[in-house]
Symmetry: C2
DNA sequence: CACGTGATGTCACACCGTGTCATTAGAATC
DNA sequence: GATTCTAATGACACGGTGTGACATCACGTG
């Protein structure tokens, strides 16, 4: 038996998601979230750095998955082949629950503050990818460009995956976006 | 003769830049900035939406320049040719004062909050570019990909322009990054 | 000179996020 | 089973952010 009601962090995440959806991010105070979770605002800030972060738990897991995908790619894979593998890894993690992704994205799209947080999370992912590519010998500007390109594909593909009725897996949409980019950017 | 000391907005910008550089963003209060500019905190918030925005005045001008560059591109230019023109337009605007850009970037790089704001400004630029491309007939996923690609080049190229000793113009660095990307991403 | 107008100041306020210390519920030990 | 230890939580105070409401000031205009 746990000491207190179990899963405080999860309760806070759920409460926040519910309130952000019901009345909007700005109309929700940290006190509201904590109260709904049966806790206090002070405890909220022990689990999450700020009011935004509660929607972005799990981004560390994404970074880990990204690193793994790069590490497990064949030694002789080209940078863009590694990118393709990374896209698969990302899709496997965030491509499971499209309804949840949609609800979360509605909240984020309605709130500039949350968009900022999402963008910096993606930027961090790009840095992790860039460094992982460097670590396997990709030269300097190429690694950065490949990483930025990968994230560009994620942005565009994820948006498409969320905002269309078509039932394809996220991984498939990302692969298609990559293919499109290759032909688009061809000199 | 002006009614009060002229150029309140400019004084606030300078004061903020100076204080952010001297003691750091977090160690500076809005009251400090206003005092240095001979104003009050309340007046600061009449000119800038928040403490971060004071470093990002002029981003509307960038959006305008971007739109102009797209509009003035030849009718039959390919999406990536339009992107090239846009890169020139951006370079003309932010490529003038490398020392100022460096100082500003030092502050931003030291402050996650400011990085978030910079990222959302760039994302807005990408949206403006995407819509401008759509307006000239570029199809849907291509327009988004081209816009994201352009911004990826700006990120990587601007970083390179700031962090190297080589004396080339920003426009040249951006063109080189574009060329690199084309060969990198070629299937 | 009186008046209007826009920029600035003053004040009050809700909320954010943090430091500090007290309290609690269970685990561990004897 | 009582005592002690420990980690999660609560309570409180506080500085800072950002906003609404209203007063004030400096100047142009009639």
């Amino acid at each position: 038996m746990a000491r207190w009601e179990p899963n405080a962090s999860g309760r806070l995440r759920e409460a926040a998601m519910a309130l952000y959806t019901e009345r909007g991010y700005e109309q929700t105070t940290v006190g509201d979230i904590a109260e709904r979770a049966g806790l206090t605002a002070r405890t909220f800030f022990r689990y999450f750095a700020d009011k935004r972060e509660v929607l972005f738990a799990g981004s560390e897991a994404l970074e880990g998955a990204l690193r793994s995908a790069v590490d497990e790619a064949p030694e002789d894979a080209s940078p863009m082949q590694v990118v393709a593998a990374v896209l698969d890894g990302i899709a496997a993690l965030i491509g499971r629950d499209r309804d949840y992704s949609r609800q979360r994205q509605v909240v984020i799209d309605a709130t500039p503050e949350l968009q900022e947080r999402e963008l910096i999370k993606l930027a961090r992912l790009a840095l992790v990818l860039r460094d992982a590519l460097r670590a396997r010998g990709v030269s300097d500007p190429e690694a950065g460009l490949a990483a930025e390109t990968a994230l560009a594909i994620v942005r565009v593909g994820f948006d498409r995956w969320i905002n269309t009725d078509d039932e394809r897996e996220l991984a498939d949409v990302l692969r298609e976006s990559l293919a499109r980019l290759e032909t688009l950017v061809a000199p």
